[in-house]
């Protein structure tokens, strides 16, 4: 069986996240800031008595900052290394089936995308960039250093 992909929009770009990594898709309402944390850490939120560390994907990709001021945001909840994260995305579209194995992207991408890329996969709705969740969570190199 082919891998299932969750298609989301980040910074206006349709990309795919391995659906196996995604626990659920939620709408976040409260967001508690984490002062002094790396910039792509948008804050903390709670889901069913679990603390989620909210990652601003746009910021992690160095493509600007998601507007977190207005109420509800869509996010994909993933578990990584024993911690739960909510990845803020513009829009969650659908779960589709991958029609190919990821293949390297040979064109030059923006550095942020380059960093999180796991390759390109074909789908019914055309080629999609497969995003590495761990790299999104890790954030930029400077955030790692800090």
């Amino acid at each position: 069986m082919n891998e299932l992909l969750l298609v989301v929009t980040i910074a206006g770009e349709r990309v795919a996240i391995p659906a196996a990594a995604v626990e659920s898709v939620v709408e976040l309402d409260t967001l508690i800031a984490v002062p002094r944390a790396a910039p792509h850490v948008a804050g903390l939120s709670a889901l069913r008595s679990r603390v989620l560390t909210v990652i601003d994907c746009k910021r992690s990709l160095e493509l600007g900052t998601s507007d977190c001021s207005d109420g509800i945001r869509e996010a994909a909840v993933v578990e990584f290394d024993g911690h739960h994260y909510a990845l803020i995305v513009d829009l969650v579209e659908d779960v589709i089936e991958a029609l190919s194995e990821p293949s390297p992207v040979r064109a030059a991408m923006e550095p942020g995308w380059e960093r999180v890329s796991k390759g390109m996969v074909d789908s019914e709705s055309g080629p999609l960039l497969l995003v590495d969740v761990a790299a999104l969570i890790a954030g930029t190199a400077e955030a790692k250093a800090a």
């Binding site: 409260t30 508690i32 800031a33 984490v34 002062p35 002094r36 944390a37 790396a38 792509h40 850490v41 903390l44 939120s45 709670a46 008595s49 679990r50 603390v51 989620l52 560390t53 990652i55 290394d81 024993g82 911690h83 994260y85 969570i137 890790a138 954030g139 955030a143 800090a146």
Partner: protein
Amino acid sequence: MDDLIADFVAECREMLEALGGEIVAWEAEPDDRARLDSIFRFVHTVKGNCGFFEFPRLEALSHAAEDALADVRAGRRHADGQLVSAVLAIIDRIGEMIAAIEAGEEMPGGDDSALIDALAPGADGPAAPIVLAAEGQSRSSSAPRTIRLSVELLDRVMSTVSDMVLARNELARRLRENPTDVAVDGAFERLSGIIADMRDAITRTRMQRIENLFVGLPRMVRDLTAELGKQVLVDIEGGDVELDREMIEMIRDPLTHIIRNAVDHGIEKPAERLKAGKREIGILSVSARQSGNQILIDIHDDGRGIDGKKLVAKALDAGFLEKDDAAKLSHREQLALIFEAGLSTAREVTSISGRGVGMDVVRSNIERIGGIVEVDSRLGEGTRMTLRVPLTLTIIPALTLSIAGQNFAIPRSAIEEIVRANGESVTLEHVGGAGVATIRGRRVPEVSLAEILGLDSGIDEKDGTLIVLRPAGGDLYALTVDRIHDHEELVVKPAAPAVMATGLYAGTTLADDGSPILLLDPAGIAQVGGVKLEMQERSARIAENPAASIAASTEVLLFRALDGSRRALRLAVVDRIEEIPIRAVKQAAGQLRVQVGDAILPLAGASGAELGDDKVRLFRLSDGVHEIGYAFAEVIDFATIDNDVIHSERPGEVNGVSLINGEPAELVDAHWLFANHVGAAARNAAQMVCRLPSDDPWMQNMLRPIVEAAGYRVIGDADDENADLVIAAQGTAVSSEASRQTIWLRTELEAAGKKDESIYRYDRAGLLMALKSAHAGRGK
């Protein structure tokens, strides 16, 4: 001990049950290696444990079986039917004895030698074991019913209960939001109570007696002493104290390390001990006790103790410490140096300790679980190490607080006290940009949480609340927060790495309203906030010196400076007040000078301020030799300093602030004024130290300002610091080695004789001369 036996019995029973099938299988197939191994393991374990307890018969039996089986394993002997039966007979006998031990009965009678003999190659069949076994079966077990659980399962239950508590909290919030039936509330209350009970019970399942940690110590010490040629008696107390299982594991290594150190470096060789007048046998006592929500573990040895001076020398060599700082360390601070990384007093590296990974690792391990290590030692008498650790890791009592509308929590174990910033006994000052809080005479560094977190608190610092914290490691500081809310028991979970990377947080938790709360890490905040914990302890001590002797208050002249600030000058240095026409003030020879009568005085207090149009008022300050003018706007009052003086970090015109008549006032440093305005002649490279008797009011009130104006830092008798000069009343005793020079003061005008070198106490000129020559004497 009873517990250990119960453990032993439980373990044996378990193994016997598991062996049941194996034995039969082995009988059918004596060559089966795996079965042989598991049976061997059983008798081996029994033998090992019997050596520990006193069960000679069990030991003899298991030993014989082990020997025979070892031969088979080594291929020296073939497992024939006769051997199998003999071994089985022994296992049955062991089972029988264990049942007897469990029931607390006498050992079944009978001689085991027949069974043991049956093991010998070529012996006859075993002597009727079956009958005995049947007897054993007939007794019902009366031991407490226990089962063994995997730790993972327990952890899962624990975390589920934690989640349940959180779910309960959320439900509580929803119920509050939507007023419901009283019956629903009642049912909910009951549920809450049950959940609380359950959490308590589950917490207890994680508890283990600390005995488990202590039980291996005598053996370890025995091995160590054998290797080192020492004699040590281990005295263990408080094994029944219970501690979180995880905590016990975390303490194991640090404790082992401390004990190794105590035996290796602490306790001397027998000959040395005899020479020092001690008993040949060293005593190492390890004790545990519960104190509030902490467990205290004391490790005390009566060995040679820790040489603080040697530590200081090492620290100087290694560059941890500046020479100046080193001289000021108190005994306790010297000892605390052993926790510095890479510092070891071991003269030589032995196989046991002194390998560079030392007490610093112990401290960091203990601090990681929210504990504290303390050390106390007397040279030649022994050393005491105290570990303080919290009872449990996951549920911690915490205080919730808020800053800029956001809630945070802080572990209550680190909190010393909570005071209002505008409280009566509290003053909050800024010195060189750094906050200093004085709370009932105790000065501690102050850190604003809003500043650290980069939040805008919107509340004036003075309206906030100060939380005095003692983070792991031991030094106080005050944290300013907007307000504090409530005491809560929080279920803390580790935060994601990206959050932990800030170094400010210890974890996350959920509040009653279901929103996440960050748990602050007191030690991390201190670090990020730039509170130098080790350094601070040293400087706080120095600051205490004047505080200790200031009890007899100091008279000051309170005035408003030209720039509008409220300042104070010690009355003693003010000769008189003059009013001078503005034209008498001139910039001359590199600085402002003022003409008063026939004299031209350097003018201070006027820099960067408007002097006014026609007249300027100034203090004439005198140090007995030189005079300075100090311009001011108006005199406010005479006052006394009865609050602590908070000293500024850098020397300057103002050397500190203090609360005078309820408002802060800057203290003008007359010494600095003279040093800078009169010229290099009065300048000192380093401040000299003068000891004055702290209980003599005349010395403190009258003499002290003069001594201080002459450039000395005054300390009291209680301070164990070396003084350059001691001033004492004639006829009192002064320990001679404490100082290089002593000035004796007499109350009579006339000297008692030619040899009397004392100075009449109102002979100001004579005094100043003596002070000056003491100053000069230092340069030699």
